[in-house]
């Protein structure tokens, strides 16, 4: 099924078309509005915002708020800016995405090409795990991380994100591999290829599209997570979202809205970039994987 171009049989008149464009345009403005507010206000001095000019373009353009948000704004007790937290997030996201995607690929491979009794139930158990309200695991998880000596560490957060992410990655790869012809696997088996050889030589080379989906999905979810970061991170492993929230909610001193907006964009940039660069592969891969399943 292709999403890009399929004709619709519906015919519309001129007035209707004009109305359609008008509505689409109005909603485009609605969706762009917060981004516009964040961008223009992150490059103007504070008094232009407090003076009622939130919607105006900056009169005195300045990158000061960006510099401050990145390297000197007060986060919690220290004036460190968001930079250290940005790196905390990177250190947490990269291993968590890689590990959960690799496990998801292997699980999907087993669940479709090496089926056994009860495999659908096991998959169902893994899938349900994606949808639980995470409040139900917060208390025991905090204790478990403490017992494992991982409380407050980046690796603790990596573990948490892998555990609660493999349901989704397994789902993606399972649906994708389900339509992969079984004949190729059988032929390889007859030629004497083993479990890992088949995976490595036959399935993996054609897994690009679904790997992209899995990576984008996991990257976005883990980067944007707040609940686990707020519950389990220590002083030197706090992710970007938690730091941004601390910056915005801090009640001491003057509220520097322009710095808050710059910080919000900094927190949004990685996922926005991923979305803009690879978003189309995401939609395409998702369709290839899930619609046929």
């Amino acid at each position: 099924m292709s999403v890009a171009s399929q004709d619709t049989a519906i015919r519309t008149g001129r007035v209707t078309r004009a109305l359609i464009y008008l509505v689409l345009l109005l909603f485009a403005l609605f969706y762009m509005l917060p981004l516009y507010v964040m961008v223009v206000n992150s490059v103007k001095p504070l008094d232009e915002i407090t003076g009622g000019g939130m919607m105006n373009l900056p009169q005195a353009f300045t990158l000061e708020p960006w510099a401050k948000a990145w390297s000197s704004a007060q986060i919690g007790v220290d004036p460190t800016g968001l930079a250290p937290y940005f790196w905390n997030s990177i250190k947490m996201v990269v291993p968590a995405v890689v590990i959960s995607t690799v496990l998801g690929a292997l699980n999907g491979y087993v669940l479709t090409k090496w089926r056994f009794r009860g495999d659908t139930i096991l998959f169902g158990l893994m899938l349900f795990a994606c949808f639980i309200p995470f409040q139900i695991v917060l208390i025991p998880m905090a204790r478990m991380l403490g017992m494992m000596g991982m409380a407050g560490t980046t690796w603790g957060l990596v573990l948490v994100h892998v555990v609660y992410g493999i349901g989704f990655t397994t789902l993606y790869f399972r649906n994708y591999y389900a339509v992969f012809p079984m004949e190729l696997i059988r032929a390889a088996q007859i030629d004497g290829a083993g479990f890992f050889q088949i995976f490595w030589r036959i399935l993996l080379p054609s897994s690009g599209p679904i790997a992209v989906v899995s990576i984008i999905w996991q990257f976005t979810n883990i980067w944007n997570d707040f609940l686990f970061g707020a519950s389990f991170a220590g002083a030197d492993s706090q992710p970007m979202t938690v730091a941004l929230n601390n910056l915005v909610q801090s009640s001491t001193g003057v509220k520097e809205y322009n710095v808050h907006f710059a910080g919000a964009i900094l927190a949004a940039l990685p996922t926005l970039l991923v979305y803009i660069v690879a978003g189309r592969y995401f939609v395409r891969g998702l369709m290839a994987g899930s619609v046929k399943g």
Partner: protein, 297 residues
């Protein structure tokens, strides 16, 4: 002799290998998801406060929970929020998908604009809307400086209306995603049926009402399941947008659980509220997953 034993071992290893590869993930899920669920549900029947404790108190936490006005407000807010959020996202998503499906120009650009909020963190969304809706510097102030001096829009600071600002921000974030789901559904409908119906003189309105929308049933179902579970899990958005306030006007079960467990040291009650959240989601998800997984066999 040794060679056959070796070969035998290899075949056996090969037959065990798939299960061996699956087992670490499975073990993690069993312990960290199902084990933890059992532990939390157990805690909800104990006298745990600051730390887990194992004194059995039966249903006491639940009866306390249902007497708390804080919990009652959270549930009422959840009702308003979930009903509006799910309805508006579905209607908007379907409407925009239908409009976007009329061979419009620059469809790719428009789709990208509608979808990008999905890539953002709720903390970012909350921050942007928090200041935009703030009467002191945001919309109200802007329109007043532009000359509309009687304009008032203080919902975010108003106990009676703050919950609707949470709806607004949440709809902004997810409606594009729902639109994409419906668009995919629309693109999957067979055009021949539509053309045949047109020949018979069916109007566009009737085409949508009688043929197209009924065929989108699976998309409606997926949208409902995804939106309802997102609604119940809503946490970060409230924290960033209103912090649960003003007063308790935007408290939801997720924020209730967090504050009772971690700042009020009422872990038993917190666990009881988490259990109720889980049961609600399970009541929606389990039938859905069961039907989905059965169909695919």
């Amino acid at each position: 002799m040794a060679q056959t034993a070796d070969a035998d071992f290899k075949t056996r290893l090969q037959s065990w290998l798939p299960k061996l590869v699956l087992s670490p993930s499975l073990a993690m899920v069993l312990v960290f998801v199902y084990g933890f669920i059992i532990f939390s549900v157990y805690l909800s029947f104990t006298d745990s406060r600051l730390l887990p404790s194992y004194g059995w108190v039966g249903w006491e936490n639940y009866s306390k929970l249902w007497r708390l006005s804080h919990w009652e407000i959270s549930l009422k807010n959840m009702g308003i929020f979930a009903a509006l959020y799910i309805t508006i996202c579905t209607v908007l998503g379907l409407g925009l998908a239908i409009f976007l499906d009329q061979k419009v120009r620059a469809e790719g650009v428009i789709r990208t604009i509608y979808l990008y909020p999905m890539a953002l963190s709720f903390i970012v969304t909350g921050t942007a809307w928090k200041w935009f809706l703030d009467p002191g510097i945001g919309l109200e102030n802007v329109l007043q400086t532009w000359g509309w001096t009687s304009f008032e829009f203080d919902w975010i600071k108003n106990r009676n209306f703050a919950i609707y600002t949470v709806v607004l921000a949440a709809v902004w974030q997810t409606s594009g995603f729902v639109m994409a789901m419906f668009l995919a559904g629309l693109r999957g409908i067979d055009n021949e049926i539509l053309k045949a119906a047109q020949m018979d003189g069916a109007s566009n309105w009737n085409l949508y009402r009688r043929i197209i929308i009924p065929q989108l049933r699976p998309a409606f179902l997926s949208a409902f399941v995804i939106l309802s579970h997102l609604a119940i899990k809503t946490f970060d958005l409230v924290i960033a947008l209103t912090g649960g306030g003003p007063g308790r006007a935007t408290e939801l079960p997720a924020t209730f659980m967090y504050s009772y467990t971690f700042s009020r040291n009422q872990m038993g009650i917190g666990a009881a509220s988490a259990t109720i959240m889980l049961m609600t989601i399970a009541a929606i998800m389990i039938p859905y997953l069961y039907a989905e997984l059965r169909e695919k066999k």
